[in-house]
Amino acid sequence: MGDKGAGRRGGWRLRAAVSGTAAAVLLGGCSMGATEGAAEPGAKASGSRAPSASASGEVSAEGSEPSATPSAAPFEADPDRVPTSGTRGATLAAAIVMRPQDWGAGFEAQPLARSAEGTVAVLDEECRWQRRALPEGVLASLSLYSELPGTGKRGTVKVTAAVTVHTTVLGADDQLSETLEEPLRCPEQQVRADERIAELNSVGTPLGIRGNNYADDSIYEQGAYLTGGGKASYRWMVTRLGQVTVAVALKGAEGYTSSELEQYVTRGTTTMLDRVRFELGGGEG
């Protein structure tokens, strides 16, 4: 598809050094798609007009709570605080993105600590990740690369936090659509010269279903990160609040359990989403 196919959406893409996505649903076997997607009633047997009339609504309705929890309404930014220029967009991205010390004790910047200004990552027609100039509709995009150096039996965990500020909500929504498209188009993706991601699975979870009460939209992906002869686990979570998307990509390492790794993904995501709320003012409490 490339530039031509990208058409209206433009060719930009958010992506960090690590990257990847995949399609949720499993063929025969059980994988993350199964558990992540299971509560969602999805389509009825032969089609449904209301796929989002969620079975889980039964439970969430029971749990309504008189507390300062996020409402089910989409994020509404304070119009006065929404950036309209590239400069203000870059300032906003920098205020939101996870810095090395934000990840926890022991984290430090990778040798290449941040993405080049004015660029976004794009999955090209040959399924290789490239950084390209910001397209129209994107005010700013910033990725910071951090790592937790290995000790003893544990290897080095690498995390990337990426924030992209769009001019419109629909533009940010398109970014998530493209994120979901990527694994369908490229089941295996070249991240760097000798690094690939594969075995990708992803699931998209809009606000209000499967327990998503934290973002307007959310995509969670997992797969394998292949380097030389090595294989590590790979996680990617992309979420959206209004016209801002935040993403956490993670390359796992020996000695870590899935839930330990997922904890970092959750921490990075919730922290950045909180910062979006704080900076843009919509539902901040």
Partner: protein
Amino acid sequence: MERLRSSDPARIADHRLLGRLGAGGMGVVYLARTPAGSLVALKVLAAEYAEDPGFRRRFSREIEVARRISSPWAVPLVGADADAEAPWLATAYVPGPSLAESVAAHGPLTERGLRVLGGRLALALGEVHRAGLVHRDLKPGNVLLAADGPRLIDFGIARAPEDSALTATGLVVGTPGYLSPEQAEGRGGQTIGPASDVFSLGCVLAFAATGRAPFGAGALDALLYRAVHDPADLDGIPPALAGLVTRCLEKDPAQRPEVGELVRQLLPGDTAEEGGEDTADLADAPAEAPAAVPADAPDDPTAPWLPEEVIRLIARSSTEALALPDIEHTEISAAAPSADASPDSGSEDGTGPQHSAPDKGRGKGQGADTAAPASGADDTLPTPADTPRPSSRRRALLLAGAGAVLAAGGGATWWAVGRDGDGSGKEPAAAASSRRPAYTVALHGDLSGDRRDTGKAQERGLRLAVAEFNARDDAPFHVDVRAVDDAGDPAAAARIAKELADDESVLAVVGPTTDTTAQSALAAYDAVLLPVVLVSPGAINLSVQGFRSLLHARLPDTLLPFYIDAFLRGTRPRKVGVVVDRAADNYGWEISSTLSRQLQTAAQPYLPRVVSAMRSGFGDAVDDLLAADTDSFAFAGLPDRGASFARTLRERGFSGARASGPALLDPLFLTEAKEAADGWTIVAPVLDATLVPETKAFADAYRERWKEAPPRYAVEAYDVTGMVLKTLADLPAKGRTRTELLAALRAVKYKGVTRTFAFQKTGLPVIDGTGGFLWRVEDGAFVYGGPAPLLV
């Protein structure tokens, strides 16, 4: 805090609303100021629920419950009116974050924080239990953090263990991830006792200690399953507390500690607090704290128990609260001298009863409809004409025993439907049946909701198979049919599954009809190992959750794209556009991910395009794909938006290959797309029984019996019912139990009229290349095109 919206009232019962704290399923929670000037969280039942007496009742219960709880660690009720037109309740405002928010943003608590949290929540729970209640929804979101300790909130679903007024057994209530196994399993009644709250408290402590829910995050059913079956993930809990938390998370409620013990263990210097609620006890505690207490013991009132950032956050929120708009001075004189903020009772009470009386009447009518799940099936059953119209309750019984009723009455055509054309022996069959043992096969379906056509088709197919079986001279037993309608409602489906599970005469179930209803029903069937055969649900997720009694008789949606791929590549396309509609959620992914993988493997050029649910049309997607040289399309979505997509293609003058999955085999697609539907090819797991030689006898019998051509999904239900009955008949007389039948069905190889049925360990069908069928839209109608080829 969110601002008020234009739709929000300015005040409710003399409370001035200041902002929105949140909105839940049943209403909105506002920050409000009482007439006396204090800040409260004011929860209002949404108008649509206020009309419903059931919700009103539930809301009043919440008020009753909250009134009965008095603990410094539970948020107190300060005012309420259950009879107001919009019922409301007000609790003291706690300007802190929830535990969920705090841990997510600022990380886990220290051991000292955990002790304060756990000990004081245990004290609050002790009060709840002393009031004879169980909270049932203890989770991080229901714990607010104040500078001096936690506050338990939300008594929305608290109730006494023996009280079943609110929720039927089998319906899971609460929040997954923090539910006890007994809640997750939908065990009802008295099994949900105080120990259930102890389990949830263990989950909350584990979360507070590690930042992770101990049974992971993710889908509802996966969480429920893990709560019942898996060990908790307790990595990272301070060693001093790990043992106690582990005991809280025992699967067996009897093994868990009582709240009193939790208080003693977590707040060792604090035993005075156990019986009372006086926070002053805390101040006394340090002096007598034994040496065994850790240095950061919770009873050192000077040390903060929360991370500093959280304390700062609380301080900030408290400060902001001070800056909120004040009460209007003109109103002060009207305020009651007490801070109780009891509402002005005059006008409210005067109008309340008058309003509620007609509401209740209306509500009862609605209630009766849902309480009579079988009512939608009236027309499918030849009820004797002289029978007085039965009550809904009796009607359900009639339905259940319909086979017997008809046999006794000698219904004219009922027995005349044998596939071999044997129309004789009505009397002998009826007579014989009374001497034989009887078993029941149930049809659990949507017989009156959106998918009633599919559900009723299955009911009729099943009844036909049973009638044929009973008509056999050599039938070793008589079979009764019990047909139950869930109207497509997942809650009803769970309830019905429990009812059928409890009916020991039922040996097998065909149904439910939809993914959603199957999802909520399967656990109940699994619990008693009652074989359940899915005929129409297609979600692969249903088969990967470990349901032991499941037999997924149709090819799941994930596998059908093998045929879509073969069909499309058979048209020799240059490039296939794969359009995925996010509005279809999982179904869209099942279709598109397999299809993309197949196209990729075949080196067929293709281009995926995901369309957001925020996009109302497909114009951009179609234009982009056509511009990229796409000359054929696959659509992974549902019929309503599928019709929109089809119309867009037609508007662009596209007439190449267009294919989709089973969801589009729906009359809605035809009526919405009109002529734009013509030329579409659909792969579905059903055939047209009137056109297949092997199913012709069935089609004739069906027409004879039901005076219409068999609709889709009828012959498939007939076939699996035949499989169940043959398998049951093959068992030795003493072995005709659910368990034996299940084992035999799991190992079955049954050659039916539609295909051969056999099952994998997961309950999925054995993949033998069959099970996909082609349909094509011609002149606004679905036309059957035979078994779908697997090879190009």
